[in-house]
């Protein structure tokens, strides 16, 4: 079957924190060294398991931000104020700490250059993370796929990977990054300043006749709205792959 990964049993591995990067006041990237990591495809995620001294455990899923084959496995985690796991990952972890993770998980929300069509990425907030793995993969393998990323953030301060996105768009042929800032905009902002809507998608997306591969990731309301709008713009529903995170979790 196309796209089917041949998977063995997903065993828990001890991953060591090697580097921390503050992306925004609420978001941190954590680079891990994972001995025995079997490799992943862009868009997949891992399960993280934390264990307290008395044996209590909590698990969550996090998208992988790093490109396949990158030196370290990078997770980018947003601190949910009410969360159980994300505050630990964002605030407590230090280089040298180890946590358990297993993966890669998921094989549908995955992009490879062999797809051959233009790539449309639509992100809301930390939904940009698995899409960043795709963009980084595109750059790392010097693939020529035309890519447009439409990325909705609340404020400029909330933009994750801002500098890297700017650099990638500037130096790469065929990569365009379009931001919209929904809550507040810096002085002189000339970009979009509203939630993603039908008009914005019609302006930014590839025409349906190009049959782009579309990946949408963000909060449920954004994903539902974007997917429905793209279907209305005659995009093939089977070319639109979605991943959502609700307000729950943590």
């Amino acid at each position: 079957m196309a796209g089917t990964a041949v998977l063995g049993r997903l065993t828990w591995r001890l991953a060591e924190v090697v580097r921390l990067v503050d992306e925004t006041p609420r978001v941190r990237s954590i680079a891990f060294d994972v001995p025995g990591w079997p490799g992943h495809r862009a868009g997949q995620h891992v399960d993280v398991r934390l264990t307290a001294e008395d044996g209590y455990q909590a698990q969550r899923s996090y998208s992988i931000a790093s490109a396949p084959g990158a030196e370290t496995l990078v997770l980018t985690v947003e601190r949910l104020e009410d969360g159980e796991v994300s505050p630990y990952l964002v605030d407590e972890l230090r280089p040298g700490d180890r946590i358990e993770l297993r993966g890669p998980v998921g094989g549908y929300f995955v992009w490879t250059p062999e797809d051959g069509s233009p790539l449309l990425l639509v992100a809301g907030g930390s939904g940009v993370v698995p899409l960043m793995a795709m963009l980084r993969h595109r750059v790392a393998v010097r693939d020529g796929t035309p890519v447009r990323l439409l990325y909705s953030s609340r404020t400029l301060e909330d933009v994750i990977y801002g500098a890297e996105l700017e650099r990638v768009a500037a130096v790469s042929d065929g990569i365009e990054v379009v931001h919209t800032l929904t809550r507040s905009q810096p002085a002189g902002w000339s970009g979009y300043a509203r939630r993603i809507d039908d008009d914005m998608l019609a302006e930014v997306s590839w025409p349906a006749t190009d049959q782009p591969a579309v990946f949408v990731c963000g909060p449920t309301r954004l994903v539902e709205g974007v997917a429905a709008a793209l279907v209305a713009l005659s995009h093939d529903p089977l070319r639109i792959k979605t991943e959502r995170f609700g307000p729950t979790g943590g």
């Binding site: 990964a5 998977l7 049993r9 909590a58 407590e92 997917a227 729950t248």
Partner: protein, 201 residues
């Protein structure tokens, strides 16, 4: 063997509800939405539900016919493989026993199929004997399209991806065949109490 995470305390749940939450799950009051693609919107006058495969006469109900079948209201705990669990969810639906009443079949499995191309596989004995429903109501309202409306499978004793949204029918099969997520590495059976999330679990 687990590795203790330095400084991690977690948020334990005490009391009666703790026993209702399988290992690795956390409790939520929300109802998160997870699906692989756009939400389908099949008009009710085009909607049908069918039972196909290993039986003498395939069966098909229109929406109107389906809604005249006896239905029941149930209160169930549900467990999603993405780690959330939700307690005491209230559904209205038609028992799969009702849909299969009088059917003679040698099949041991079913493959549920859905609008949008989604499928999921289950043993026949896990959707019969009062264990599964085709649900059209949630919390006293019509089931929202985001959550699988007009109707979804409800198999609350398995991880919730088995409760396929936008379900349109069941194919009775002699042999087990992986469905959509099962082909991508998710467990063929999916018992949350045994943490059967992925292949090999």
């Amino acid at each position: 063997m687990s590795y203790v995470s330095r400084g991690f305390r977690g948020r334990r749940r005490e009391g009666g509800d703790a026993a209702r939450i399988p290992t690795g799950q956390y409790l939520t009051d929300d109802f998160p939405v997870l699906s692989a693609g756009p939400t389908p919107h099949t008009p009710l006058d085009e909607w049908t539900f069918s039972v196909m495969g290993e039986l003498d006469e395939p069966r098909t109900w229109t929406w109107e016919e389906f809604r005249t079948l006896p239905s029941e209201t149930l209160t169930k705990d549900i467990h999603c493989v993405t780690k959330w669990s939700k307690l005491d969810t209230v559904w209205e639906g038609v028992s799969v026993d009702t849909l299969l009443e009088g059917v003679e079949t040698a099949a041991e499995y079913v493959l549920a199929y859905c609008d949008g191309g989604y499928t999921t596989n289950l043993p026949l004995e896990d959707v019969t004997g009062g264990k599964a429903w085709v649900a059209f109501g949630y919390d006293g309202e019509a089931l929202d399209p985001e959550h699988g409306g007009p109707a979804r499978l409800l198999v609350p004793h398995l991880y919730f991806w088995k409760s396929a949204k936008w379900v349109r029918g069941l194919t009775l099969r002699a042999e087990d065949e992986p469905g959509f997520w099962e082909r991508y590495g998710y467990h063929m059976y999916g018992d949350p109490w045994q943490e059967q999330r992925y292949w090999g679990d």
